[in-house]
Amino acid sequence: MSDTSAYQVPDGLFYTKEHEWARVTAGTAKVGITDYAAKTLNDIVYLTLPSVGQEVKQLSSFGTVESIKAVSELYSPLSGTVVITNQELVNHPELINKSPYEAGWIIELRPSQLDAEKKTLLSPRQYQEFLRSLEDEHHN
């Protein structure tokens, strides 16, 4: 269970140390939580989502995700305006467990400071290393 290679970290995404990801495409960015976060929370049963049009700031909370046991804040990898939220999650929050990087995306936003903020995020390789450091800490 503690083997970090057991967690998917797809290429082409930006990551945070709070275990969110951002997939940047032309003009917008989809945001979700990582496979590690989803597996650590275990069954996700409830979300609070921001409203469309809401401004979010990088690394500030834009909602919560709840498992059976606990509540976690969702931190945005990027600043911007929420353009759409994933309504499928309202009735099927378990999509985050099943498909954290595709069907389980949480919000899409229009980034306001993409170029500057991108540099502060982790690459897939850096995020993998970060996961390894967490597990090392856990075992010491």
Partner: protein, 367 residues
């Protein structure tokens, strides 16, 4: 940190956490799946972390009688009794199961986190009496087999005719050849058994492995959501030494004619006054209540506090145990639970949260 005899299985199959000084699994695959396996089929739990103490000797019966508000002495041999250990102020030191083997021998099963203080309290209360206490926790393994198919899961491993056992009774037998006490009790609301195996190594692991062929391994996460759905309190969260049995909605353990036990004088006056707050269930319309969230009336005045909360995998709603003012505790009473600044609708409900004609050990058998 301590490990149970089944640790190797947990480590290789589960997500481990610290619980009451033990390394225990919090889930194997999914808390929801494990939870539903117990409601619909059968699940197994390692509950070896719970304390197990043999009490025996000429004065054992007298000692037990002086300790608990439940009249265990009058019960026939072979009964398993849920009861409470009280302090002088009638505060709850622990909730536990007492197995009456015979007049001179009892087996007491206590919460892991309370074991040390329970033993100390028991030793002090029994001063001057001729009995001994034997802590057999480390020498034994304890496994719970729970769910409507518990008999089918366990019967192939034991010669004891399980279907003939009544709920809250126990018997001495064997499981896969290992000496065992089998009690028809549990902490899930479902029918089932708890096995105390007189083995703390490979023999118990073999029993566990054999049970996995017919039942789903379940961990602490499911244990908590199951007991909450069933309305069973968790010591340390839903009650402690500042709580009396009436407040905890456990007045039913108090035997009417019994007066000579620790905590009785105070409990008697509590019974005359009646409790001002009481443990109740709250079922939410939408949000998930969590420990320490405030409970208010419709106008926003605080009437109580949540002591445990979760998402019910069966009802697909947030559920809570809370202490609320007795005047506001009627079933159906609308309340609000303040979820991170958002007052959210819910209502007071009786335990268990589910329909007990369809789920739980009282369910009617399928026709």
């Amino acid at each position: 940190m301590k490990r149970t005899p089944l640790y190797e299985f947990h480590r290789t199959h589960g997500k481990m956490v610290e619980f009451a000084g033990y390394e225990m699994p919090v889930w194997y695959t999914s808390t929801v799946d494990e939870h539903m396996a117990v409601r619909n089929d059968a699940g197994i739990f390692d509950v070896s972390h719970m304390g197990r103490v043999n009490v025996s000797g000429p004065d054992a019966g007298r000692f037990i009688e002086g300790l608990f508000p439940t009249d265990i002495g009058k019960l026939p041999n072979g009964k398993s009794v849920y009861t409470l250990l009280l302090n002088k102020d009638a505060g709850i030191i622990d909730d536990l199961i007492v197995l009456k083997m015979d007049d001179a021998r009892y087996l007491v099963v206590v919460n892991a986190a309370s074991r040390t203080k329970d033993l100390k309290h028991m030793e002090q209360s029994g001063a001057g009496l001729d009995f001994k206490m034997d802590d057999i926790t480390e020498a034994t393994t304890m496994i719970a087999v729970q769910g409507p198919s518990a008999i089918q899961a366990l019967q192939p491993l034991t010669p004891l005719p399980l279907a003939e056992m009544k709920r809250f009774t126990h018997a001495v037998s064997t499981v896969k050849g290992i000496g065992a006490v089998i009690t028809r009790t549990g902490y899930t609301g479902e029918d089932g058994f708890e096995l105390i195996l007189y083995d703390a190594s490979s023999g118990s692991l073999a029993v566990w492995e054999a049970l996995t062929k017919r039942a789903t391994p379940c961990a602490l996460g499911a244990r908590d959501s199951l007991r909450l759905e069933a309305g069973l309190p968790l010591y340390g969260s839903d009650m402690d030494e500042a709580t009396n049995p009436l407040e905890a909605d456990l007045g039913w353990v108090i035997s009417k004619d019994k007066q000579s036990y620790v905590g009785w004088p105070k409990l008697s006056s509590f019974m005359q006054q009646g409790p001002t707050k009481v443990r109740r269930g709250i079922i939410m319309d939408e949000r998930i209540p969590r420990r320490d969230f405030k409970v208010t009336d419709q106008a926003g005045a605080q009437i109580g506090v949540v002591t445990s909360g979760t998402f019910s995998p069966m009802l697909k709603r947030g559920i809570a145990m809370a202490y609320v003012k007795t005047v506001s505790s009627g079933p159906g009473e609308p309340v609000k639970v303040v979820v991170r600044d958002a007052p959210s609708d819910g209502k007071i409900t009786k335990f268990p949260f589910y329909d007990d004609s369809l789920y739980g050990w009282k369910r009617k058998p399928h026709q």
